[in-house]
């Protein structure tokens, strides 16, 4: 501390006599930088050796990582066990996502963002040969693998006899001619230890060396800026001052470490771990591949402290990634698979009683031969090294979902159906590619692109506004084969292909079709330049008519391309980072449980469909895509489906079966209409038969015991509340004032009360024999039922007495008996059973699944609920048929009934 203070003071004092104006402006930049990165505390010093094992100080040659690091570490083993180095070379010929992919990895898999294509041997028209691939894609490759060996596994610097052209030549970008590539001159790119293990590798210099074709120097260039080596006049020179007298790198220059997020980020995506520097995102176009494809940004920075123009920034008091914020590094989850700290046996190979297996390699062995196969997940966009899928620490390897989700109803069900990421990655704040249209070329000679999560900046100088976007939820096959919804980005790409088998049209040919010299070809301009301003704006660059398609196709044909045609693809990219803590995760149930459920909300895929071509999802990913692509008004949408045969989700509050609700409503409204008509007629009839009304004699009788009344009214209240809460759960958007979660809890508690109450009542009725009240007598039942029906249809209007006299021993008429038999012994139990199964779907999913799952149980439950609603209307109405309309209800309150005295009492 003191050091920095006095440094600042002395500096200031030295300047004090000078011109004061501007002094303060000078100072901030002159303040000492934050702690100078010192040497690694652990790594010993070592000499830098060239490929022949000679000290580079003596030879002046590029450093060889294989010999330098190989002095202590088994670099041959490391390079041979690394899919980062291999990137598909070993599996060359295996399928990727498109028919023309020659491997599942970077080396051979067509990338719709970069467009360039590694040509297989034998192709007549070449795009990228191996050397050109290194120049273009080497920036995403750590070296080794295809940067060292050819497709047959031989060294690229071996004599070229019999090798295919794609290994020995390169297409001259100026002439389009195939010219030989001198591997001896360019050298090869060994696996670059520095890129990942140096505190501050110089990726820019490395990429520049690769692009220049100086492959052998690429790893040396990674050290540029460290003081170890510098480039003077295009020549790399080793700095003797950075070495000890014995020719070893001085300790201060040994800045080796475990790979940090920024090391990984050089190829994978934007990683910004320095909290002292505001993170500034600008625009959507980026070389950071994972950021460009998904919007993921790995940074501990709190968004409102960042320098990015984020919508609603003032309230974005969350970090970009909670794991970055909590000092979790990439390699903590994506660890080397034989790292003894992290290594775990596969669960199915473990003995059940063994909690820990102590037999593992020791650190010395690990450091000698650290496996450079890293624990990985199973992202949709990655097909490489499937044998290591889901080896990484997944969410549940570290987190216990049972803790901290106490607030969430049906936790197990949610965890089963949804990936943790679904709620914990609610929004991506970086911009991501939405669509790429390679059927047209912008004036810069590249595709027209669309992005998500970004809007053009309003204020001048403010930059683009980052609005954030919600990822689309797609069903993903997990390691255990289960399907869960997980967040993804969908990128749609249109492009020209030619020939048979199809190949993407090389960019060189595409450019030749569109451009004539520096500008667009006049024919192209004439066809596309709608406003005649001599240039093509973004909205003019669309193949929206057959004429335009035909023009470009013809121009491609003129390049010698066979049957050029437009193809489209939709490619999913899994999103697993930019996780946030519970506070910022999705907690609002109605995000999914509402009529506007996120699970089914349409996602815009592209604003145009070039040439009217409908794209298809690429095959080979681990997703069970169930939704459909919809073209509407020229734009393309994805409409997700969550109730496909595979996924079979029934989402309360969103899903309903139309015929169930229709039938239920008809039943309910029919009963309401019926009783309305009936009561109207009764009213009119009663006026007419008023005179006779007085003639009927009544007697008071104690009809309902205390328990019966208590049971009845509790049941009444609970059933009414159940119907209401059930309705809220069924259609939450109509009852926005209620908390969905609260209503679900209330519904469940009410159901429990109902079950207890019903069980006690069943016991009471059985034990006391009162159950007999509900059992119709078989003898003469139909006659009696008919008589009762006839009474309701005719007699009641004439003021006739009830056909059966009510008595404590026979409280119900035959119609009531059969109705209650159905209600209490069929409907109520069914409703309870379906309810319990729905509730238990999380605990006993198999039982529910056997009965058709929630998608059968839930509509069934709804249908019975409708029946109950209809019954209650009927039930209440029929209580009004006693002496006065309220007599029946009063009797259920007081227990005392007023009963018509009939001439000849019925014998029960």
């Amino acid at each position: 501390m003191l050091r920095t203070i006095s440094h600042r003071l002395h500096l200031w004092l030295g300047l004090a006599g000078a011109v004061l104006v501007g002094l303060a402006a000078l100072l901030p930049s002159a303040l000492p930088a934050a702690a100078q990165t010192g040497g690694s505390p652990l790594h010993p010093t070592f000499p830098l050796l060239d490929a022949d094992g000679a000290n580079v100080l003596d030879s002046g040659q590029p450093v060889s990582t294989m010999t330098t690091c190989g002095a202590c570490h088994d670099t041959e083993f490391i390079a041979a066990h690394s899919f980062h180095a291999d990137v598909g070379l070993a599996s060359y010929g295996a399928p990727g996502f498109q028919p023309w992919d020659t491997s599942p990895g970077l080396f051979g898999r067509w990338d719709p963002l970069a467009y360039r294509y590694l040509s297989p041997e034998g192709d007549e028209r070449l795009d990228l040969t191996t050397a050109a691939w290194l120049q273009v894609f080497g920036r995403y490759h750590v070296g080794g693998g295809p940067a060292v060996r050819d497709r047959s596994g031989a060294s690229l610097t071996d004599p070229a006899d019999g090798r295919p052209l794609v290994e020995t030549h390169i297409v001259d970008p100026d002439t389009g001619e195939l010219v030989p590539w001198d591997w001896d001159k360019s050298g090869v790119v060994e696996m670059n230890c520095f890129l990942c293990h140096l505190q501050a590798p110089n990726n820019e210099a490395r990429v520049a060396a690769l692009e220049a074709g100086e492959f052998a120097w690429a790893n040396t260039a990674t050290l540029a800026g460290t003081g170890i080596v510098e480039q003077v006049g295009g020549v790399w020179r080793w700095n003797r001052a950075a070495f000890t007298e014995t020719g070893e790198l001085a300790q201060d220059y040994v800045t080796l470490q475990d790979p940090g997020a920024e090391n990984c980020g050089q190829c994978h995506g934007l990683a910004h771990t320095d909290n002292q520097t505001p993170l500034v995102l600008d625009g959507c176009e980026t070389d950071a591949w994972t950021t460009a494809t998904t919007g993921q940004v790995f940074s501990p920075q709190v968004m409102l402290n960042s320098g990015t123009n984020l919508a609603g920034k003032a309230s974005l008091n969350r970090s970009f990634d909670i794991h970055a914020e909590r000092a979790v590094e990439c390699v903590n989850c994506h660890y080397a698979l034989n790292n003894p700290v992290y290594y775990r046996k596969a669960e199915d190979s473990e003995l059940e009683h063994l909690v820990f297996d102590p037999r593992r390699i020791d650190l010395g062995e690990y450091l000698y031969r650290p496996l450079h196969e890293f624990a990985k997940g199973s992202s949709a966009q990655s097909a490489l090294a499937p044998e290591f899928d889901d080896t990484l620490r997944r969410c549940e390897s570290c987190h216990d979902a049972a803790v901290g989700h106490g607030w969430l109803p049906y936790r197990e069900r949610h965890v089963e159906a949804l990936g943790c990421e679904t709620c914990h990655i609610p929004t991506l704040y970086g911009a991501a590619r939405q669509a790429t249209d390679w059927t047209v070329l912008t004036p810069q000679g590249t595709a027209r692109t669309e992005c998500r999560g970004i809007a053009p900046g309003g204020e001048p100088g403010a930059g683009d506004l980052f609005t954030g976007f919600s990822p689309v939820l797609l069903p993903r096959k997990d390691a255990d084969g289960a399907l869960t919804l997980a967040p993804h980005n969908l990128i749609t790409t249109w492009f020209w292909v030619y020939g048979d088998p199809a190949r993407p049209v090389p960019l060189r040919d595409l450019q030749a079709a569109w451009f004539d010299g520096a500008g667009y070809h006049p024919d192209v301009l004439a066809a596309f330049d709608a406003d005649g301003d001599g240039t093509l704006a973004d909205d003019e660059l669309v193949l929206d008519s057959e004429a335009k398609v035909a023009l470009i196709a013809a121009r491609l044909e003129a390049q010698g391309l066979d049957t050029p045609r437009i193809e489209g693809e939709v490619r999913p990219y899994t999103i697993s980072h930019n996780v946030t803590s519970g506070e910022w995760a999705i907690r609002d149930c109605t995000t999914c449980h509402s009529n506007e459920s996120r699970l089914v909300s349409r996602v815009l895929l592209a604003e145009h469909t070039p040439g009217g071509v409908m794209p298809g999802f690429v095959s080979g990913s681990n997703l069970a895509i169930s939704g459909e692509l919809i073209a509407e008004d020229g734009a393309l949408y994805y409409a997700p489906r969550h109730n496909s045969d595979e996924l079979k989700l029934y989402v309360f509050g969103h899903d309903s079966v139309l015929w169930v609700d229709a039938l239920g409503a008809v039943m309910f409204l029919g009963v309401v209409a019926g009783v309305t008509a009936h009561s109207g007629l009764r009213y009119i009839a009663a006026r007419r038969w008023k005179a006779r009304h007085g003639e009927v004699a009544y007697r008071r009788e104690y009809m309902y015991s205390v328990y019966e009344r208590q049971w009845h009214w509790l049941q009444t209240v609970v059933i009414l509340l159940l119907l209401f809460t059930g309705l809220v759960i069924h259609k939450p958007h109509i009852f926005g004032m209620f908390s969905f979660r609260g209503v679900v809890l209330v519904h469940n508690v009410l159901a429990a009360i109902l079950v207890i109450n019903a069980a006690l009542a069943a016991f009471y009725h059985l034990a006391s024999g009162e159950i007999r009240q509900y059992l119709p007598e078989p003898h003469g039942f139909f006659g009696q039922a008919f008589a009762q029906a006839l009474y309701y249809l005719r007699g009641i209007f004439r003021g006739e007495p009830h056909p059966f006299e009510k008595s404590p021993r026979r409280k119900m008429n035959p119609l009531q008996q059969v109705t209650y038999l159905v209600i209490l012994n069929i409907l109520l139990p069914l409703q309870m059973i379906t309810g319990v199964l729905i509730w238990g779907a999380q605990t006993w999913p198999n039982v529910a699944a056997k009965l058709g799952g929630l998608s059968v149980l839930a509509p069934f439950h709804t249908l019975i609920a409708w029946s109950f609603a209809a019954f209650i209307v009927m039930h209440v109405y029929l209580t009004t048929t006693e002496r006065t309309p309220l007599t029946g209800i009063k009797s259920m309150v007081t227990g005392w009934s007023e009963i018509e005295v009939h001439g000849s009492p019925e014998e029960a």
């Binding site: 501390m1 003191l2 203070i5 006095s6 600042r8 003071l9 200031w12 004092l13 004090a16 006599g17 004061l20 104006v21 002094l23 303060a24 100072l27 934050a34 702690a35 990165t37 505390p41 505190q199 940090g260 771990t273 320095d274 909290n275 002292q276 501990p300 709190v302 008091n317 970090s319 970055a324 914020e325 909590r326 000092a327 106490g406 104690y702 015991s705 205390v706 328990y707 208590q710 509790l714 809890l745 469940n748 508690v749 429990a752 009360i753 207890i756 109450n757 006690l760 006391s768 009162e770 404590p808």
Partner: protein, 495 residues
Amino acid sequence: MNNPNNDQTSETNWLREFKYIWVIGLVATALIVIVPVVLAVRPEPAPADDPWAGVPKAKPATDHSALLKGPFETGSDVTLACLNCHADAAFEVMQTNHWTWQAPPVEVEWRAEPVSTGKANVLNNFCIGIQSNWTGCTRCHAGYGWDGPDFFATATAEQVDCLVCHDQSGQYVKASAGMPAEGVDLVLAAQSVGRPTRINCGSCHFNGGGGDAVKHGDLDETLYFPDEQLDVHMGRYDFQCVDCHRTDDHNIAGRSISVSVDNANQIACTDCHSATPHADTRVNAHTDTVACQTCHIPAAARREPTKMVWDWSTAGQDWPEDEHKYLKIKGSFIYEGNIVPSYDWYAGTAKRYLLGDPIDPSGVTKINDPIGDITDPQAKIWPFKIHTARQIYDAVNNYLLVPKTVGEGGYWTMFDWDLAAQLGSEQTGLDYSGEYGFTETVMYWPITHMVAPAEQALRCTDCHSANGRLDWGALGYPGDPMQWGGRDTTAVASK
């Protein structure tokens, strides 16, 4: 239902027992309802601590407008009027540091004899010292008429200034030697008295060092009307200074190592908050080692830049003036805003430079070196503003000097360092050799105000990362304690 032979008898029995059965039925119903509800609804766990329990409930102020009619000619007239009812008030004030500007002697580890310090007898690296400069400095004394060395020999209760703390009229201003400024309406001021607000305290404490935001780095005039982002206590909850700086008999709690050498009557976050208030035990594990302020005040001087460097040696030149860069009377400054504090161990006291202590003029003199290191279980990592200066010292005797700046013969009028040193030394009693120079000094200002809302607190990677705020090596750690382990805290646990 029982079914006796005679229905009438049965009904009579039922009626006789009716009430009893009714109650049973109700209880049964209630149980059927309550049991599932209780099982389903679990109460929220009670919060670990209740900070509001520590906040005093202020009594509403008495309206004095009918009680104090005036007229008042002088400040002392007002004080006399106050003493009519609050007879002990002035005598209480006269026991406190706000009046004496010098604390009673205390034993300290770093000196054999007890030490008595205060504004009256120390020097700092801002305006340096009050001796010989009384009239300028005592503007902020809670009294009237301190204009020379003999003030306390004759001072009486009526010279206590009640209004500077209690005035709520907003127009009471003090001038030279602490006298009410010309034009102040004393009657209005007297009638307005109430509980001290941030404005009363701030009129002096926000302007320490000769102006707004100069001295502390965490106290400036933005705290008169702060928003919650600046200070969560004063902004979100409208805390007044005296809500935390609790006061008994006019003795206001709170000490600063800029003048104090002991830590008695101190206040702390834990007066209201639990020592382990975080939901995350990993965060709570920090509180033995890291002061609350370290994380909860992510930056100091967040709204107004504060003075970081003061070079007296360039004073006296006819350079262009800018109160934040150069003044002829004071020399050159550097102000910085939104500063990331410096962090160091601190157990609550400092080793203070006392008048006459020898210095090494070629080195840096620490005027108040915070005491504590990684081995001191009482010490925690604290945030500091570090103020650096070049100030005058005696080039023969090798000690810092208090120059006379204010008033007749002072540097601010004569621009003569030699004369200023001579006149100042006459008052401090230090021998002045006649040769002076300028030497570098630093002062540590613990950052403790401007507590940000919890959401703004530092997070893991602010310290635990490659480019974190803390220099682990300088703090005495072998490396990031997250990876290499923290200090041995057994001593703390057993304290």
